[in-house]
């Protein structure tokens, strides 16, 4: 080892959680080093200006690392292909910016039903709400207030993205049924902020945004964190978190450019490497005193993986809807069937979200569900009757946290640095299958209520063009109530190692029936606030306090 660096806090991962943590800590002058195995993305790395923009989604902008195969990626094995990205911004480089909040009921699923591995969060929605608000202000959320189906939310930085013809038509459908619906909150600017341009409704969000309208953390948190003096090291692949006498001492990383190993020593270590990378790293960090991996004395690291249960339902209508315009994430959502109603035969609920459709080639190739325009003599009639007449309804269900759905290490497969690949095993619980099948029928009812359906297609569960259950990755190092039911306490502090924190979607106790980034960042901001205020306590703790004993703010 040639040398080492010393810092107050080491953050591993520059994505949603790591960026929020780094910026907020450095606001108060705390010295932060952040290690990121990927690099910066340049605006011209986005495909929006190229004639092959739709095709590029299957190459550099594939959401599967095993398809993309970037040098900074690592392979995954197992029975699913999780969606994630490596780079400054992490998986926010590759998200559509859907920005719903969890509902209060999501924090008490253990109380509500306790099925399978479900437990209550150790905190409430109301405790987390101030941190949602802080984070929303940082990233610049687009929002229309007044949704009667959710607790009041503060005004957005700008108004909600416009719904276009798709939003208007499907809104009328939900209205006709008397079902709840509302314009979606999105992490997409609708008025300028800092050096970022507002959305111009170009319709292509899952390839990132060269205008910087989408709130990926490379354009939200990182510019300000760097001005605060955070030492962000890119192409730095962490090999192991080091520990001694029951406390984390820092990490060893490999410079992917030179191959050299370096050490960073820190008073506090925060892991935010996503819900697969984080347990992978903790398991790779097995060492003296931690034979089964760091923070894993109870064997829960990597378990209770959640992805959301899901199906895409494509509907084509007898009128132009022009879904190539406007933001790609949900333009609106219905949470009519969000709460558990056991008369349906399952617990938990789902959101119905209405999305749009990219361009002509995507339409010709079947949109989301493989309803491909036939080649030959029937091509023109089919294409002409389908293009621009489409609305997507996706059924997004809360999946149960099943203990055997988990991330382990695959000793047979390695990344380009020789580190073991994560093995990801995930089987959908029967409850979640029933939920999705029931939800698919509600999606059809909504389309029929909107009127004029001329064709339909569906992925079903795990069908064509994704999603296998695997869109959002959550829950593998969950926060909980005791060292027996979780990996961290209510301040994201691992039960085994008092100065080791986890602040990505790994820490989410339940997955809700909405996109998770808003919530995981709110949790990270809350954790950062705790570290800021209790830095001194944490530096001297030899055991992690219980939820009732922790010093709090």
């Amino acid at each position: 080892m040639a040398a080492y660096t010393e810092t107050d806090v080491l953050v591993i991962g520059a994505g949603a959680g790591g960026a929020a943590m780094s910026k907020r800590l450095s606001d108060d002058g705390i010295k932060v080093v952040c290690l990121e195995q990927g690099d910066w993305l340049h605006p011209m790395d986005h495909p929006h200006f190229y004639d092959g923009w739709e095709l590029e989604r299957h190459r550099a902008w594939s959401w599967h690392a095993n398809v993309r195969m970037f040098p900074e990626d690592y392979p995954t094995t197992g029975n699913t292909e999780p969606m994630m990205m490596n780079g400054v911004g992490g998986s926010t480089l590759h998200y559509a910016g859907a920005w719903p909040r969890f509902k209060p009921v999501d924090f008490r699923k253990g109380t509500e039903h306790g099925v399978e591995g479900t437990i209550d969060w150790p905190i409430s929605y109301e405790e987390l709400e101030p941190f949602y608000a802080i984070n929303d202000a940082e990233i610049g959320v687009a929002r229309r207030t007044g949704d009667p189906g959710n607790p009041p939310r503060p005004e957005g930085w700008g108004p909600a993205n416009r719904g276009g013809k798709v939003g208007h038509k499907m809104g009328r459908g939900f209205d006709k049924l008397g079902w709840h619906w509302w314009p979606a909150d999105n992490a997409i600017l609708t008025k300028p902020k800092d050096a970022r341009l507002p959305c111009n409704d170009c319709g292509f969000c899952l390839g990132g945004c060269p205008r910087h309208a989408i709130a990926s953390t490379d354009v939200t948190y990182w510019p300000r964190a760097l001005r605060n003096g955070v030492d962000l090291r890119t192409n730095a692949r962490v090999e192991r978190i080091n520990a001694k006498h029951g406390r984390a001492t820092g990490a060893t990383y490999i410079d992917r450019i030179t191959g050299a190993r370096h050490e960073v020593r820190a008073d506090i270590v925060v892991v935010a490497a996503n819900s697969i990378g984080t347990p992978r790293l903790l398991l790779m960090s097995a060492q003296e005193g931690h034979p089964d991996g760091l923070a894993n004395s109870n064997g829960l690291v990597g378990t209770h993986l959640m992805f959301h249960s899901w199906s895409f339902e494509d509907f084509w209508f007898d009128e132009p809807l022009e879904g190539f315009k406007g933001p790609e994430p949900a333009v609106l959502y219905s949470q009519q069937f969000y709460d558990t109603d056991t008369s349906r035969g399952f617990v938990n609920g789902f959101s119905l979200q209405v999305g749009t459709a990219l361009g002509a080639a995507n339409s010709a190739l079947g949109t989301n569900t493989g309803n491909i325009t036939p080649w030959g003599a029937r091509h023109r009639e089919f294409f002409n009757s389908h293009f621009g007449r489409h609305a997507l309804i996706y059924v997004q269900g809360e999946d149960l946290p099943v203990r055997t759905n988990r991330v382990t290490l695959d000793p047979e497969v390695t990344d380009s640095s020789g580190l073991p690949a994560p093995h990801v095993h995930y089987d959908l619980h029967e409850n979640d299958r029933q939920l999705i099948e029931w939800g698919r029928r509600r999606a059809r009812e909504a389309a029929d209520a909107a009127g004029g359906v001329i064709d339909t297609a569906s992925t079903g569960i795990g069908g064509i063009d994704g999603p296998p259950p695997g869109w959002h990755i959550m829950g593998t190092c969950r926060m909980g109530n005791t060292p027996e039911d979780s990996v961290t306490n209510k301040w994201n502090q691992t039960w085994d190692v008092p100065n080791l924190f986890i602040t990505d979607a790994s820490s989410l106790t339940t997955g809700a029936a909405v996109n998770p980034t808003s919530t995981l960042q709110a949790v990270a901001v809350r954790c950062a606030e705790y570290i800021k205020r209790r830095h001194g306590d944490i530096r001297t703790q030899t055991r992690t306090p219980g939820n009732a004993d922790a010093p709090g703010f």
């Binding site: 190229y50 109380t111 509500e112 399952f346 002509a360 203990r403």
Partner: protein, 193 residues
Amino acid sequence: MVDLKVSFAGSKPPLGGWLPAVSLTDRQAAILNAAADELIPGGDGFPAPSEVDVLSFVTRYVTPSGQEPKWFPFLGEDDFKARLDKLGEGFVRASSTQRVAVLGGLERDEPEFFGHLRDVVYYAYYSRPEVVHAMNRVLRAARDYRTSPLPYGYSDVMADWDDELLGRVRGSYQRTADVRRVDVPAHLGKAGV
């Protein structure tokens, strides 16, 4: 041991495809054009693929010789040219009915290759400015459609929400403290942590 180091250690797929594009002989180009024209026949106000230069797009996305075609559309130069050569001059001179029969056979016997060829031709054709202009003229749903999302976007032609409709929305939620136990269906049972 399956060592994926090599796959994950290489470069990235070039955005926009490879430049210079793979070079085809005149005969290979004619064969590819003929195939594309059968996959997406022109007419009804739309040009044929051969009239709008789908070749320049497709050949950018064929991986040059000497490199593994590991990214979509998974077409390597040597194999791709060999397949075109196999179709031969006869394919170019054949009637449309005969070409369709040949392509149908390819679809049946080599579905993976056929699927990649079809997909990249679709991507190429619907990226051509002449095709987008045809869509603008012919399709009511496409009158505003542009060749690429940026730089313009669609804010100038984007409909907003209906306030009157939103005023009718009803919904509810519980506070966290108000959540209560439900009766769990017997078939679901429960499990420990």
